[in-house]
């Protein structure tokens, strides 16, 4: 009797380990997903107001990460105490956000705005051009080799459990991303600018005819999308700890995919899409193998889009007559 019962506790233990392993992967996935979502917002917001896939967005974030790296060195953050480190990180988020936001507005003014009435492919190809220009600036800025981004935060686990890890870096992602997303949703839903943005995204001519300065709304959208990307670049550096001049391409692609998966043009869709992609990436890396991750993510994307072409939270588009 006793002997036959004996193996059970062991089974229990291994079960609880595998359950905890699963939760751990989910936690990693959600944290990564939050970062992807922050980048995806930049794609979806710009698409929402002017219908442009801003292919330079990933590389904009790469430039933000370059600035963050330079600022960490200039401010001597690697040697700062805990309080100064957190203040330094807040400053980095602010400065890189302003930098990416302003750069995004400048690119819109110089490159996309003159093409506002041109066929859609013209600004799209220009965006690819801007992406290459940014990459070259990044190459010039930090060189061709990957650069390691200093570990500014302690890696101590914040959870009481041994098998479930959630450290300061993970917490950083949450405390930067969540307020930014809440702020964005408040801005879009409750402010005058937000209402103007929604109006412009639905009908530019009608928006102009109620007295909205459409160009200013578009510029504000580029700024906000760029600002979120700049914040993401700082977190990326601190979280992944490696940056390189080509990082914009793959990260941009995942974020763009997240935006499409969630329903391009939809702000909650971009957040959901980011979370889904983060989860799928983490789980497939853990259970199937890292090298299959890309294939699995995109296979799921294709399957979802076959059944829901408008994305998870997108709306079915009907062509205007």
């Amino acid at each position: 009797m006793l002997r036959s019962v004996a193996p059970l506790p062991i089974l229990h233990k291994s079960q609880s380990v595998s359950v905890q392993f699963f939760f751990q992967q989910c936690l990693i996935g959600l944290t990564n997903g939050a970062l992807i979502a922050l980048v995806a917002l930049g794609y979806t917001m710009v698409y929402g107001v002017i219908g442009l896939i801003n292919f330079a967005h990933g590389d904009l974030i790469m430039l933000g990460a370059c600035l963050a790296l330079s600022l960490v060195a200039a401010l001597g953050l690697s040697m700062a105490g805990p309080a100064a480190t957190w203040m330094g990180i807040a400053l980095l988020v602010l400065l890189c956000g302003l930098f990416c936001g302003t750069l995004n507005v400048a690119v819109d003014r110089l490159v996309y705005k003159p093409l506002r009435t041109a066929p859609k492919l013209a600004p799209l190809v220009s965006a690819i051009g801007v992406s290459f220009i940014f990459m070259n600036i990044g190459l010039f800025w930090i060189g061709s080799a990957d650069r390691s981004f200093p570990e500014l935060l302690p890696s101590a686990n914040l959870l009481p459990s041994d098998s479930l890890q959630f450290n300061w870096k993970d917490l950083l992602v949450v405390i930067v991303v969540v307020p930014l997303m809440l702020g964005l949703s408040l801005l879009v839903r409750a402010t005058r600018l937000g209402k103007a943005m929604r109006a412009v995204s639905q009908d530019q001519t009608a928006a102009a005819l109620v007295g909205i300065d459409v160009d200013r709304v578009i510029a504000s959208t580029f700024f906000i999308g760029g600002f979120l990307g700049g914040a993401a670049s700082v977190i990326y550096g601190l979280y992944i700890n490696t940056i390189g001049f080509q990082m914009g391409f793959q990260n941009g692609l995942y974020a763009f995919t997240a935006a499409v998966l969630g329903g391009i043009g939809s702000i909650p869709g971009a957040v959901l899409g980011g979370m889904v992609i983060g989860l799928v990436r983490a789980l497939s890396s853990a259970y199937v193998g890292e090298r299959w991750t890309g294939a699995i993510v995109f296979a799921i994307l294709i399957v979802i889009l076959v059944f829901r072409p408008e994305g998870l939270l997108g709306r079915r588009t009907r062509e205007k007559v």
Binding site: A199, A206, V210, V214
Partner: protein, 236 residues
């Protein structure tokens, strides 16, 4: 001095010249009808006055000041409202948000609230549908919303493009009633209409536009009685 003066205006799209030296005037408080066949340039004329379609030559003056070359939102802020063809309400915003956007240039929020209440007084159905998305309204309700949205902007001159198009006769009557009442509120109106008979009956003066040119002008009564107008537009 006329309130609105359009002087020898040319405008178009690419190689197409949609307006060929069009001139017209609107006096303070006047209701001016513009009639003409499809493609005559009526919508382009309103779009050119609003700054959506660029004026290539000629001049548009509002109360003596040239306004061609200004941005559309600047022209709206001068007091020129424009309810465009096809209503173009914001389909995924609520009725309330649509009306609030009509008062986008109104800095005083309690005034905006009064203006929205007033629009709902003209069209009670809007008050009943405040929380509903604009795109879920019927065609007639959408037209009322478009008109209400334009009025919340407190225009001094309101341009209406085909407000009766595709609507049931009962609703057309209601819409024209409201339009007729605008001059008593001191709002000058430019009314573009396919329904030439109804428009000319309401109008102090009218213009007939044909392939981008003004071919006839006169009082509403005279134009309605004109044989050429009757043959071409009144379907008699």
């Amino acid at each position: 001095m006329p309130m609105l003066e359009v002087h020898e205006v040319e405008a178009g799209y690419g190689p197409i010249r949609a307006l060929d030296r069009v001139s017209l005037e609107v006096q303070e408080g006047e209701l001016v009808a513009i009639i003409g066949a499809n493609g005559a340039g009526k919508t382009t004329l309103l779009m050119a006055i609003s700054g959506i379609v660029p004026v290539r030559s000629g001049e548009v003056r509002f109360r003596g000041t040239p306004i061609n070359g200004l941005q559309p939102h600047q022209i709206v802020r001068l007091g020129i409202g424009h309810s465009p063809e096809g209503r173009r309400i914001f389909p995924r915003l609520t009725v309330r948000e649509n009306l609030e956007l009509g008062g986008f240039t109104q800095p005083n929020s309690s005034q905006l609230k009064r203006d929205i209440d007033e629009a709902c007084g003209l069209f009670p159905v809007l008050g009943e549908r405040m929380g509903q998305l604009g795109g879920t309204l019927s065609g007639g309700e959408q037209q009322m919303l478009a008109l209400g949205r334009a009025l919340v902007g407190r225009p001094k001159l309101l341009m209406l493009d085909e407000p009766s198009l595709g609507l049931a006769p009962l609703i057309v009557t209601k819409i024209f009633e409201v339009i007729a009442g605008l001059s008593s509120r001191g709002i000058a109106v430019v009314l573009v209409e396919q329904n030439a008979y109804a428009a000319l009956k309401l109008a102090t003066r009218g213009y007939v536009l044909e392939t981008g040119r003004v071919t006839l002008t006169g009082s509403g009564k005279d134009l309605a009685a004109d044989v050429r107008v009757q043959d071409a537009y009144l379907g008699e």
